[in-house]
Assembly symmetry: D2
Homo-oligomer: 340 residues x 4
Amino acid sequence: MLVFDSDYTDGAHPLVLKALVDSNKEILGTYTLDKYCKEASKKIKKACNKKNAKIYFTVGGTQTNSIVIGSILKSYQGVISVNTGHINLHEAGAIEHDGHKVLALEGKDGKLEANVLKTYLEGFYQDESFEHMVFPGLVYISYPTEYGTLYSKEELSAIKQVCNEYHLPLFIDGARLAYALGVENSLSLADIANSCDVFYIGGTKCGALCGEAIVFTNTKLCDHFFTCIKQKGALLAKGRLLGVQFNALFTDNLYINIGKQSVLKAKLLKDGLKAKGYKFFIDSPTNLIFVIVKNTKIEEIKDKISFSVWQEYDSEHKVIRLATSHGTRVDAIDAALKLL
Amino acid sequence: MLVFDSDYTDGAHPLVLKALVDSNKEILGTYTLDKYCKEASKKIKKACNKKNAKIYFTVGGTQTNSIVIGSILKSYQGVISVNTGHINLHEAGAIEHDGHKVLALEGKDGKLEANVLKTYLEGFYQDESFEHMVFPGLVYISYPTEYGTLYSKEELSAIKQVCNEYHLPLFIDGARLAYALGVENSLSLADIANSCDVFYIGGTKCGALCGEAIVFTNTKLCDHFFTCIKQKGALLAKGRLLGVQFNALFTDNLYINIGKQSVLKAKLLKDGLKAKGYKFFIDSPTNLIFVIVKNTKIEEIKDKISFSVWQEYDSEHKVIRLATSHGTRVDAIDAALKLL
Amino acid sequence: MLVFDSDYTDGAHPLVLKALVDSNKEILGTYTLDKYCKEASKKIKKACNKKNAKIYFTVGGTQTNSIVIGSILKSYQGVISVNTGHINLHEAGAIEHDGHKVLALEGKDGKLEANVLKTYLEGFYQDESFEHMVFPGLVYISYPTEYGTLYSKEELSAIKQVCNEYHLPLFIDGARLAYALGVENSLSLADIANSCDVFYIGGTKCGALCGEAIVFTNTKLCDHFFTCIKQKGALLAKGRLLGVQFNALFTDNLYINIGKQSVLKAKLLKDGLKAKGYKFFIDSPTNLIFVIVKNTKIEEIKDKISFSVWQEYDSEHKVIRLATSHGTRVDAIDAALKLL
Amino acid sequence: MLVFDSDYTDGAHPLVLKALVDSNKEILGTYTLDKYCKEASKKIKKACNKKNAKIYFTVGGTQTNSIVIGSILKSYQGVISVNTGHINLHEAGAIEHDGHKVLALEGKDGKLEANVLKTYLEGFYQDESFEHMVFPGLVYISYPTEYGTLYSKEELSAIKQVCNEYHLPLFIDGARLAYALGVENSLSLADIANSCDVFYIGGTKCGALCGEAIVFTNTKLCDHFFTCIKQKGALLAKGRLLGVQFNALFTDNLYINIGKQSVLKAKLLKDGLKAKGYKFFIDSPTNLIFVIVKNTKIEEIKDKISFSVWQEYDSEHKVIRLATSHGTRVDAIDAALKLL
């Protein structure tokens, strides 16, 4: 079976695994207060060029979104997201379970557009009933988006400007951040850190076994955040598991390199598909490929290669999603291209 | 000032007020366990032709929606509503605050269409990620809708059939139910009771000072509902306030008569507007009128008559909402028609 | 049946009812934005000697506690209360349903003692695990307490001092406030307003049909409180019902007079019981009487007089609670004394 | 520094680590649907002698308690626990954040007593206000308790009997279950499985890097539990991390052996302390030792050995908690005994 359905079917990147093995015998502090968490925090702050940022380590993406959003919002506020945002569709209602509405706006290629955001906010405050409605309290975007697309520096900056005008913090979900950083000429980690109030650096989908690193550049937003993490059941007793992995990921550019390699592999696959005449549902520069495939073809190959069926395209075609990761082998790509 | 912005600018209907005055000196049971609540329950069950229904009294609409929906849904479930549904827009996120997502579907003239519901449900269970998504657990519709429109018997029945197919209870928000019952040849209370699992009979907007009567025809859904009411802060210590009013409303057809009179007045106003050449945004048979008015006209009259500005129509027009109620006077309608 | 089980078996005080009748034909603003709510707010602020206070009207006590506490607390915080506090025992878990722990401390005669509070707070911050625990975020007391007892000025001041030291707001539940104000030489409304950050003036149990008036003297705590009220389903569409009643209660000292009369009647009852040799479980100066009665006596009279069975006293006695209110008649007291 | 403050300062047990290393290159299913999770489930069911049980894997203890309790309770119900229970004290209000009250009963040596439970339940339903109170919906106990103590088979059975009488499920928190299984002549895993409706087998504190395995023996309680796990942010994308570890822990009795070894080391330490004249606060047979130490001694050694300060004993002594685990070395115990 060729596996292309997600970027989390692999184990850890070998260097991440090695770090776990090497540190295993050490007796360490608990609850992410160990020396590896400290060291990883230092490296992350340096990579972000934000020495005053506050770093917290959690286990998974849905959890992280829920804690960050829930701890920032007041009870009468909701979070703005595009309707294809992960928090709106694929987190089983975690945000609502925590008491907050996801205020879903129409997106474009998975992205929030600054003018759509602005129009919504203007409309909200012009509505004579706005005090009977859910107040916008935070803007959520993902980078890369759920469609593998990226914001340009200008796009991010335009969103941030609208946020500032309405005193709304901006939160970036970086579950797959490595695959954005790995795209040539894309934004750096410091650019990301500069463009928002809080974001997270995804580990689980980018070479770790688990783990996300939350970066608060606006440290007014993380009041007693440690206890919030505990309350949501996200505080690892053996926090070392997160510290050791992130320390490895932020040593010798490993995190970015994982992104680069995976993006290159995705390009190989994409180029191959293009050469075979396939059309793409969306033009993604990262590790996710959304390709339009005949239903008959899908039936033919589905037992030999795994992928996500994303949506119907027309009565004869579906959009499937293929993902590459640090563990994707070139011979698997060749085999996939033969099959498809 | 002519007042047409809502159906709750009046006091109580005189007969409701009289009942409050007449009963005031009595010493009565508390927490809706008094004799008037019992008597009102009996009359409501009779009017619904459901002798085994369970009746509960609460104070207001948002509260009622939140308690009913919150007590029926399991933690992993959300409630389906059209996007213009009151719970989705104008209840300040009460449902989400209680932990549940409103699964908003596109509506038509404020109504949920059975085929849209079915398509959604089919799609949900066909989605390979459905276990990562919010499960539909209940269907919410309002009757009349927020646009004053009504479902036909066939439409309701088609919705219920889809609900049954997917084992979803159907909940009808009857905040303005009197204005539906007051429309000639429309559904009876017994029809409504037959068409769903639970609904409420709105008092606040239909002649009472406050109060809603919840009718569970499917009594499996109201396990320990009394305590749920208490927990949500909706249990009146002097529950008599609700019992006395609903007892009056369900004596000598008062509730339906209030609806009839208000609908007649709305018709008077609508006919007058039609005669003057006004166009309507939507064709509502009940007490709400959505009329398209020039912005310049709005500016001219807005200090002499009150109304709700519903939405932009085009750059030169807006949709305004006019409402009638038991207290609307015919001379006020005449004056309004002169102004408009 | 003689009725002494609570102070909410009556209807409205005649003057409150009259105000409802007199205003019933008026067309008024909605959602507590009407002229009566404004007028009542003005009078309350004057009676509190707090011209900058913010006043909000809600319907019932549990609801009010839940909204005030829920809107002040952050997600990682809980509310401190004595273990006999209404929020801890008799509100069906409304505070917890809203996401917050009630941090229950041992009380004395229903009261929180400043030194108990201080010891708890000191202990909390000395505990090496305090970041894994629920942070105290607010102190709740009731005045009168659930046992009808009152704090002295010094006691209140000592509590407030501890609160200040730990930056905790103080919230006073005044569900039965009239009965405290009606006690000779007790604290004035202005004293209460001076001693805390927010409190509410109970209407339901003090002569109204329903309604509580929340007074924020610390106006930093009520950010978007109107929307919080709406979200919790506590915003009355016909807010006039609350405004008219509170305007009447705060005209010509009615609120305090209701308290005074009820307290006098309680004294009459208490003196009669004392004369008959009854012992009291607690010495309450307000409208609640906790008297120790033989089980055999209880059996004998329970079909002729209603009361609350509060708790076991010993194997042969129980503590019962008798309550007086504005409607308690002197002949009923005489009859009760004959029975008991 | 000698480290005795907890059983989670170690890394993984070498065999657990080896399993992670050995499986790392495999491409595996996601979200705990991989072959290791399946294999581990099979082994756990066999060890429990419950072939129809349902097994779910989560990451940490607080999270697990919150998901299990939150998914079983209805909105009007709370969970019964002794006041020293982990959920009541050291989970930052996770249960309340999820909407439920912890109904705390007085415990003895960390244990719930069947008669205390029964008295509480009888009292609850005899209270005339019980419908205004939080209904008991579930009983929570920990085994071993937070004080390292164990229930006998008879004690567990007596609790279960009371639970059955009141139709309450029983949930056992087994965060440190290995240390109970490791005590000679104590209950087996099958005994535990037989004595309750749901329990979890702690991994984090018993030799894994993270992970807990939930065992539902009463499978009526786990309706859509997978989605509940997802909603609470506890579903690992790389679920293999849990499956691989638990598969290792349940191969060749590793889990029980880890318990046995740690308990033996605790005994070594305890015997040494006894020999030196130390008194114990509580008689714990497992891996936690609660010993009474002079404050002056604590000051003297606190920079050389780590421990938890549990509580004051008297003005001159404190209770400290020492913990052993799979990684505790005998020479560290000797050194600790020299210091103390």
